[in-house]
């Protein structure tokens, strides 16, 4: 674990036992998050992004879910380091909301409909900082003001359904950041919102995390979000990370065919003006594979235009690649061994 690293995930595996068989939703994932860094976790829906992050806090529903292996090493400010998958449930619980907190995709369903938002924001502070009810309420109001809620003194007693979608997500952010966590995990925080609101929410997350030097894991399927927010990116496909790179490297020189496909499918304003402007928007052929009973092969090979013989029989190893920052890719095109 490097000096400024705060979280390191090693060989994480999470499985779901379903009627149609064992689903390996997260299959041997490793990545590292530095203090204050913003890391993007990108992929299509169902690729295991959310499960990865629920696994970090051991919030995967069990049954049917089960964390089958790996380590989640968290280093607290005092330098103590522990494996969140190995410690007691009680020890993880104390970290939740205090050191690592989460924002979820749909703020309407993620907020409790029968509790006042002030109560919901105050809960974590009350619990982790041992504040009394009145102090916690004052803190709630302060947090609501911080996230740009007009008239927080009055709205603190309102219920979630009385807020707009954007305001609800702001409430979620206030809730998540109320204890000044070391890490904020934002799971598709803008997907359920209007396009006009999306940028505001992202700006808010960006400015608040910068203020407190909070490390952020930004889960998204939207590369546009990643470009504006993140320092580095992990691209996930079918439960695995296929490419890791800094934002600059990834956007300027994508290595994995899947990453290339993703980038090519973003509509670009500048490209429209260029010579290829008339070209149709690219879409990756085929659909993501079923995660049931995956065999040893590159999971992307059925959709890959550059697929070779070996792709169908062996899993590509993670290969370190040169770039401006640390980067690696799991693809036989770039593998240094076994070709």
């Amino acid at each position: 674990m490097s000096a400024e690293s705060i979280l390191r995930v090693e060989g994480l595996r999470t499985e779901f036992h379903t009627e149609s068989g064992l689903v390996k939703a997260v299959n041997d994932i490793s990545f590292e998050l530095a203090r204050g860094e913003t890391l993007g976790l990108v992929g299509e829906s169902g690729c295991g992004k959310s499960v990865t992050n629920l696994s970090i806090l051991r919030l995967v529903q069990s049954p049917p879910g089960k964390i089958a292996g790996g380590k989640v090493l968290f280093e607290a400010l005092d330098g103590s380091r522990r494996d969140l998958l190995a410690v007691s449930e009680e020890e993880v619980r104390v970290l939740r909301g205090k050191n690592i907190s989460m924002i979820f995709q749909d703020p309407l369903t993620s907020l409790n409909p029968v509790l006042r938002v002030g109560v919901q924001i105050a809960e974590a502070i009350q619990l982790h900082h041992g504040l009394r009810k009145r102090e916690a309420r004052a803190k709630s109001i302060e947090m609501m003001r911080l996230i740009g809620m007009p008239d927080p003194e009055r709205r603190v007693d309102d219920y979630p359904h009385q807020f707009s979608g954007g305001m609800r997500q702001r409430v979620m952010i206030a809730m998540a950041l109320s204890c000044k966590p070391d890490i904020l995990i934002a799971d598709e925080p803008t997907t359920a919102l209007d396009v006009t609101i999306q940028a505001q929410i992202l700006d808010l997350i960006k400015s608040l995390s910068a203020r407190d030097a909070t490390a952020v894991i930004m889960i998204t399927h939207d590369l546009g979000v990643v470009a504006g927010m993140c320092d580095s990116i992990c691209v996930m496909y079918a439960g695995r990370i296929v490419e890791k790179a800094t934002v600059d490297d990834l956007f300027h020189d994508p290595l994995h065919p899947y990453t290339k496909g993703l980038l090519a499918s973003i509509p670009r304003v500048d490209a429209a003006a260029s010579a290829e402007g008339s070209q149709r928007l690219y879409s990756i052929p085929g659909a993501p594979p079923s995660l049931v009973g995956m065999s040893d092969c590159c999971p992307f090979h059925p959709r890959c235009e550059s697929a070779m013989g070996i792709c169908r029989s062996r899993l590509p190893p993670e290969t370190v690649h040169a770039g401006k920052g640390p980067r690696s890719v799991s693809c036989w095109l770039h593998a240094k061994e076994g070709r």
Binding site: L54, L57, L59, Q61, R93, V94, L95, R96, G97, K98, S101, M102, F104, D106, T109, S110, L111, N112, P113, V114, L115, E123, A124, L127, H128, Y159, H161, Q162, M172, M175
Partner: protein
């Protein structure tokens, strides 16, 4: 809120009007007039007396007029007179209503006390074996006839002093503790079926709510399991349970009629049964009317409680007002 209550109260008027129509006209279906029934137990009457009686019983006027007159008297609190005792019906009912209501509320209390914790507990220990056991226990609770349970209780406890009222009923005001002790078994016999229903609803509702995103949010905050379940899950899961409990309170009231008979409790149920055995129709009409009104009011109260617990309902009304 006030306007919501007023609106709901107003909506009861047509329903209660319909109830009164049924209560009035069903009794008219009985072969033989009320006068004949009355005369059945009396000695001969002179022609003049018969004329007088016919006028009193309203046999000289059309039935719709009689209905309007009857309804008018009821609205003024005059429920008529017993054909057997000649006494006013309403005071007799009112003196027996408290016991039946107490029994019903006690049964409801026991049903909630048993059903909700059991439902929560079984929703947390979810595995195929306990699932099936819970379902069968729940269905079994529904399947045992209340009056049979009551009979078995009488059988089992007849040797134990104080638990079986049997003719020496003591009013709550006279001795609350003895009163509650006496009503415990009857209330349990009435409430156990509802306890089973409430258990199942609580359990299924909890299982559904525990899957919700906001439960994940609550867990992600680091809240203790107890807080997640009691504050976040239960408050949502209880909503359908309120509806079911309220809807079934009326059935508890019906059950009280039978159970009062088994335990020889001097409540409204016994009054009703003796009225039926003796064909005392004014009494029957009045009791049916009172119970149906109570039933409708209970449903209203249920809706109000629901609105109090679920902020979304209350505020939807608020929006309409503004």
């Amino acid at each position: 809120m006030g306007r919501y209550i007023a609106k709901r109260l107003l909506s009861l008027v047509p329903v209660l009007f319909g109830v009164s129509i049924i209560v009035f006209f069903l009794v008219r279906l009985i072969p033989g007039s009320a006068l004949q029934m009355y005369m059945g137990t009396q000695v001969e009457a002179t022609p003049q007396q018969m004329e007088e009686l016919k006028r009193i019983f309203g046999e000289d006027r059309p039935v719709t007029v009689l209905f309007v007159e009857w309804l008018g008297r009821i609205l003024q609190g005059d429920f008529g007179y017993s054909l057997r005792t000649g006494r006013a019906v309403l005071p007799d009912i009112l003196s027996r209503l408290p016991l039946s209501l107490e029994l019903t509320l006690f049964a409801l209390f026991l049903a909630l006390l048993i059903g909700i914790p059991q439902g929560i507990a079984s929703s947390l220990k979810k595995n195929p074996v306990s699932d099936v056991i819970n379902r069968i226990v729940g269905l079994l609770g529904l399947s045992l006839p209340q009056f049979w349970l009551a009979s078995l209780m009488v059988l089992a406890f007849s040797g134990t002093r104080g638990w079986i009222p049997m003719g020496n009923y003591i009013k709550f005001a006279a001795n609350p503790l003895r009163n509650l002790q006496m009503l415990f078994l009857p209330a349990l016999a009435i409430g156990i079926g509802l306890a089973a229903v409430i258990m199942r609803y609580t359990r299924n509702s909890m299982l559904e709510v525990l899957q919700m995103d906001y439960i994940r949010t609550a867990k992600a905050k680091g809240l203790k399991k107890r807080v997640v379940i009691l504050r976040h899950a239960l408050k949502n899961a209880i909503l359908p349970v309120i509806t079911v409990a309220g809807f079934n309170t009326g059935y508890l009231l019906g059950g009280a009629i039978v159970i009062e008979e088994v335990f020889a409790l001097p409540g409204m149920g016994r009054l009703a049964l003796y009225a039926i055995y003796q064909r005392d129709y004014p009494v029957i009409q009045a009791i049916v009317l009172v119970i149906a009104t109570l039933f409708v009011l209970v449903n209203l109260v249920t809706d109000l409680i629901y609105a109090l617990v679920d902020p979304r309902i209350r505020l939807d009304e608020g929006k309409k007002q503004s």
